[in-house]
């Protein structure tokens, strides 16, 4: 380590101590600043010093996706070539049905595709950026979803970029119901001893009713944050009971936030019920064999 000269003079030492104490008070005060001021400080750094690094991640993610897409496309091309003759009728029928339902027309104005950027630093594990903002109609509290289900929601919106939290955040909660609407409750995050075992819990359900394992749990639309019908998870097992009046279930989450690279962000005007967007694709495969979500 460095050489040491003569001991510090008393005045110099005191000045350094006062300066250090000032910086420490400043650092402590940042924790207690109003959220809007904290956001302003954070954004001022993101749009100046951190811009090249965030842009690098954006480009890298894009490049990785492109590279992966090439491989996927080659495989799909091989499969499609073999199947195209037999699928032609189904594809045409599917297209007709989609047009009939107006699915594409309904989904397109409500959701906007976006790329997820992860800060990757300590304390930001439950936090992400998306490359869309107020200019695209994104609003604070907008649900963030994938083709599999709910990822989280937007917390802060700027002109061209927004930040949000995923469901692993302790403050995450969503009003939820079984797919058939037979049971209602609240889905919350339940911390495990280690981050890898964070789980979702479907809480506040009636004690005398039982949700079958494998039943899909959707957002119920109550509370106004998430529109009705976004898949959150599937019932896994009973988490616990409270007295003889309340029961809660562990869910297997539809989306693992750490693996998400592309999302859809809701934009205004948000739909009140979006269940039709998922029912046709992912949910049918996850329905329980009985087709009934609960046992009275």
């Amino acid at each position: 380590m460095p050489a040491y000269g003569p001991g510090p003079e008393t005045n110099g030492g005191r000045q350094r101590g006062i300066l250090a104490a000032t910086f420490l008070i400043l650092a402590l005060s940042t924790s207690y600043l109003p959220a809007s001021v904290q956001q302003r400080i954070a954004w001022s750094m993101r749009v100046t010093i951190l811009v090249p690094f965030l842009a690098t991640q954006d480009r890298l993610t894009g490049a990785q996706l492109n590279a992966r897409d090439v491989g996927d496309l080659m495989r799909q091309l091989d499969s499609m070539t073999a199947l195209s003759s037999t699928r032609a009728v189904l594809v045409e029928e599917n297209r007709d049905l989609r047009e009939l339902l107006g699915l594409a027309d309904r989904a397109e104005p409500s959701f906007l595709p976006a790329t997820v950027l992860r800060p990757g630093t300590q304390g930001s594990e439950r936090f992400f950026f998306v490359d869309v903002g107020r200019a695209h109609g994104i609003y604070e509290g907008a649900p963030v979803v994938t083709q599999d289900g709910l990822v989280g929601k937007i917390l802060d919106v700027r002109e061209e970029i927004s930040s949000g939290m995923d469901w692993t955040h302790p403050d995450f909660s969503a009003s939820a119901m079984l797919q058939d609407g037979s049971m209602f409750g609240l889905v919350e995050n339940r911390r495990g001893d280690f981050r890898e075992v964070d789980r979702l819990v479907f809480d506040g359900t009636a004690y005398n009713e039982e949700a079958l394992p494998g039943t899909v749990v959707l957002t119920s639309g109550f509370g106004g944050v998430y529109p009705q019908g976004i898949p959150i998870g599937v019932v896994d097992e009973v988490e616990g009971t409270q007295g003889r009046w309340r029961k809660s279930y562990y869910l297997r989450a539809m989306v693992q936030p750490g693996a998400v690279r592309h999302v859809l962000v809701t934009r205004r005007p948000a739909e009140a019920d979006v269940s039709a967007l998922w029912l046709a694709d992912s949910l049918q495969a996850m329905e329980p064999a009985s087709g009934e979500g609960r046992i009275p």
Binding site: M1, P2, A3, Y4, G7, P8, G12, Q15, R16, G17, I18, L19, A20, T22, F23, L24, L26, A27, L28, S29, T30, S31, Y32, L33, A35, Q38, Q39, I41, A42, W43, M45, R46, I49, L50, P52, F53, L54, T56, Q57, L60, T61, R118, P119, G120, T121, Q122, G123, S124, R126, F127, L155, D156, S163, M165, H169, P170, D171, D193, F194, R195
Partner: protein
């Protein structure tokens, strides 16, 4: 170049490398905490005030990427910067044992203060974040820090 100048260049270089690895390339925990290493290196060369200021700046950089516990990194890095500079007056040494201890304790202190400041609702269990990850991160930081000192020769000046 004077030692102080070399240390500043090293601090800036490490900070940029940290942001590139953690933010740009999104490597996460596989990459060492070079920001803390830079701060600990710098703190031995500058006074307590400037080290605390550098810590505050580094902490704000990290806080800007995670608004949910804004200020936790700032406090942690400021404390580490100030304490790192204090060790200059308290401990004289450049032995391998001292350097490894300095980096391990420095990084562990940073994680401990961050864990305290981040708030009960957001922090991971003590055993996971402070005991396991803090000590492993400290050893990782020590490895990188000692290697950097060896390569740059900053720590050799006292022996001349």
């Amino acid at each position: 170049m004077r030692t102080e100048g070399r240390v500043w260049v090293l601090c800036v270089g490490l900070a940029l490398a940290h942001l590139l690895l953690h933010v740009g390339l999104a490597i996460g925990r596989a990459a060492p905490d070079l920001l803390t290493v830079a701060l600990l290196l710098g703190a031995r060369e500058m006074g307590m005030g400037r080290a605390a200021g550098l810590g505050l700046f580094f902490g704000l950089l990290e806080d800007a990427l995670g608004v949910l516990s804004f200020g936790a990194n700032s406090v942690a890095m400021t404390v580490v910067g100030a304490l790192g500079a204090v060790t200059r007056d308290l401990f004289v040494g450049d032995s391998l044992f001292f350097l490894v201890s300095y980096f391990v304790i420095g990084k562990w202190t940073r994680d401990l203060v961050h864990w305290v400041m981040v708030g009960e609702s957001l922090r991971a269990p003590f055993a996971e974040q402070v005991v396991v990850q803090g000590l492993m991160g400290g050893l990782y930081a020590a490895l990188v820090g000692v290697l950097l000192l060896g390569i740059t020769g900053i720590g050799k000046r006292a022996q001349v």
